[in-house]
Amino acid sequence: MTLRPRQILFFLAAVAPVGKLVLLPAQLAGIAGNDLWMPALAHLLFQAALIFCVLLLARRERTVLSLIRACAGGGCAASFAVLYALFLLFCAFLPIVEQKVMVRSIFYDTIPAHLVFAPFFLFSAYLACRPLPALGRIWDILTPVSVVCLIGLFLLSAGSCDFGALAPAGAAGKAGFFAGTAAAFSRFSDAAFLLPLVGRFRYERGFAAKGVLCYLAGGGVLLLFLAVFYGVFGEIAPLQSLAFARVGAFFPARGVVGRIDYLFAFGLAFVMAFYAVLPVHGAVGLVCEAFGERKLLAPLLSAGVNAALFAAVYLLNFYTVTVVSLFSGTLFWVFPVFGALVPLLLALLLGRRRDRGGRRAE
């Protein structure tokens, strides 16, 4: 059972951008002010290039581990799987913390007990051990949800948005741009998330270009969202930590129909829940593939990993700001080192087809 190429495109266009709407917009607004879209654009272009490489690697129609195994042996493949799985779990941590912040804020009127977020890990444990086609089909479902919810939020926020707030471009200067770019590394690991999916879908002619176009289209929506967000909140944007749940709150019929913008926000939260589990799924999948056992290992590993994440999240319950600044500041280099260098190297080293004599690659 494998993914369909279309599902990868759906993920890149409609699911990946939604995962960046929680804390990132306010964080970027705090660092780069009205230039918040610039670091995001830089990351989108960089990720698009990486995604192109990863999708080219998919031409071999073999998984990354099998390519490494063929090239450097089983031990090396297993080591890579474990290391890369750890990196994916590292990537998963911040989105999960963001989820927790989001849940406590937008789903309740008063601060709830910390325990309300615990069921997320049950969901994560369940989803992470599901076979890959499950993810693909879910992306099929999530795409219309994501599109409808984003359009809804854009429509609701249109009346209160002042795009003039984005001027003048470059006001944050180089310092703002680089600081914003460094902080945003922790949120842009889409190419890294795609790596475990390589070889799980059939490569079609021109698919890498299609993937890049879809990612950039989704990225365009992200940039538009950032612009709308800053247009609505201007100077107080850094205070609006849950951007997607805030932008639509100012529509005129609010008093009559209630906060219908929350329905769209809940829809996006639904999409985000799946996005947050994606790296965990990738980590479990990689380790299972490395050790050649899925049926038994996947549920156990998924349960173990999620238990560990649960423990970590709850141990750091009162250190959310520290965690965010640790991932976006002190440890930001981990993301480009693993999330960019590894896919790039793999694409360069393993991406070439060896059989040019007309025979299809294995």
């Binding site: 789903f107 209630g258 929350y262 939260a269």
Partner: protein
């Protein structure tokens, strides 16, 4: 195996009749002793209530009494007037024939027994099924007799490609099951898998087709519906034409179809007899009603406890006024009203009709008036549950699943609030999208997204646009409109 079952036919009518009777000692199995035209002793063994005695006398006994030819079974069979005659040599087979309502004839010098098809089964007339009423379109419904049902199917599909294979399921009930498919339209592997699964059924009895559902599903313990059901031959035939296999079970008016898609239950036979825009609207309305039925009570509870902002302030104040003196928490209040509704629903279905009226009055009075004025429950709670209850019946084939889901949603809404609803919805989405039956994903054509099949999903395109059979079924014969 019993000794009698092992015995061979001796050619002595007295002895053979006694042996057969020993296998079937029940008092309603009768033996009629007589002599044929050559003076040979003969015995006719039959099930009293299941055999048409007039037909037996006319087609079997009268010609056999006049018969004076050879004693070979083939010769005897040729002189009988019944069009359905089977020669059986084993007592076990003869016993099965008797139990199926076919009388068995044994005579002196005979090398085998003869079973004649003069069965008489008390039958309900073909009528419109109460669960699937159509204003426009055919009104016939399946009945409990598999032969009548196959006839209803055959009448609609006058093609040699229609294959009906009779199978027997159930150790004790020996229920006849007709597997129907259109050769060249339904995938051969689906037919083979259904046959295998039916052959593997080893159960005492199959009183209804719902028993078979569990054996046919790929995940038999799942809460998710995996086999399509219908009571109408026109829908059954339409599904066969799309490339599905169908199963008719003796004793059950519910036909099964495979593979099943979730979207099927949002469609009704009538959708194909009304304009496409109307059908699309109705299907979307059904989906909306179902979502309301599942989510409305949950969101109402979550809004009251966890997220007041989901409601506009004026509505919230009205609700706050209504719930002010209610002793129960919002979640318990809703659970109570839901349980009362389920009890009333259950009772009103099972009650005799003349008591049903009284029950409705009691239910309406107790729920609608007394409970509210006594301050046990609030008016909005009753309105919400009533709306939800009505919504549930917009998609009657999914009532079992959706009522459980509604209860689960209510539980998570009362315990975790809106986040619980979102998470449970996510879990249900995963469960639905990962469910496959016979290699066909349940949530197609939405997940996986199959653009071509969307034409007849929640949207209904014009008949002339439905040129191809659903791609998800991978029918060998792809085109249906030329």
């Amino acid at each position: 195996m019993k000794k009698e079952e092992m015995r061979e036919i001796s050619g002595n009518a007295q002895k053979d009749g006694a042996a057969l009777k020993a296998l079937l000692p029940a008092q309603d199995i009768l033996c009629f002793h007589f002599a044929d035209g050559a003076g040979r002793n003969a015995v006719c063994v039959f099930a009293d209530a299941l055999t048409d005695k007039d037909l037996l006398a006319e087609q079997v006994l009268r010609p056999f009494r006049a018969y004076a030819g050879g004693a070979q079974a083939e010769e005897v069979a040729a002189h009988l007037l019944s069009p359905e005659v089977r020669v059986q040599t084993s007592f076990q087979k003869l016993a099965e024939e008797v139990l199926a309502g076919n009388p068995v004839l044994l005579w002196d010098g005979g090398d085998a027994g003869i079973a004649a098809g003069t069965k008489k089964v008390p039958l309900r007339a073909v009528a419109e099924p109460p669960t699937d009423v159509a204003i426009k379109g055919p009104r016939e419904g399946f009945v409990e007799d598999v032969k009548t049902n196959t006839a209803l199917v055959r009448r609609r599909l006058k093609t040699g490609e229609l294959r009906i294979e009779m199978l027997t399921v159930g150790r004790r009930t020996a229920t006849a099951v007709a597997l129907c498919w259109l050769e060249g339209t339904c995938r051969a592997d689906i037919v083979e898998r259904v046959k295998k699964k039916l052959a593997a059924v080893d159960i005492d009895g199959v009183p209804d087709s719902s028993y078979l559902v569990r054996f046919l599903a790929d995940r038999p313990r799942s809460l998710i519906k995996q086999v399509g059901t219908t009571e109408k031959p026109d829908i059954f035939c339409a599904k066969l034409c799309e490339g599905r296999a169908g199963i008719l079970t003796d004793g059950s008016p519910i036909a099964l179809t495979l593979p099943y898609l979730l979207v099927e239950d949002f469609q009704s036979g009538e959708d194909y007899f009304v304009p496409a825009y109307r059908a699309t609207f109705t299907r979307l309305l059904r989906l909306f009603a179902l979502l309301v039925a599942i989510y409305l009570p949950a969101f109402y509870v979550a809004a009251q406890i966890f997220k007041l902002q989901l409601l506009p302030i004026r509505l919230l104040l009205t609700i706050a006024g209504s719930v002010r003196d209610i002793p129960l928490s919002p979640s318990l209040e809703m659970l109570l009203v839901l349980l009362v509704l389920e009890v009333l629903n259950e009772a009103s279905i099972r009650m005799p009709k003349y008591v049903g009226m009284a029950l409705s009055v009691v239910g309406a009075l107790v729920l609608g008036e007394t409970a509210v004025s006594a301050g046990f429950v609030s008016t909005p709670a009753i309105i919400i549950i009533a709306f939800s209850g009505i919504g549930l019946y917009a998609v009657p084939n999914l009532i079992e699943e959706t009522s459980v889901l509604r209860l689960l949603m209510l539980l998570v809404a009362g315990s975790l609030g809106t986040y619980g609803i979102v998470l449970l919805s996510a879990l249900v989405t995963v469960a639905l999208t990962t469910t496959e039956n016979y290699g066909v994903p349940l949530t197609a054509p939405f997940a996986p997204w199959i653009a071509r099949d969307l034409k007849d999903s929640l949207i209904k395109s014009h008949l002339l646009s439905l040129e191809m059979r659903p791609a998800v079924l991978k029918s060998p014969n792809k085109r249906r409109l030329k």
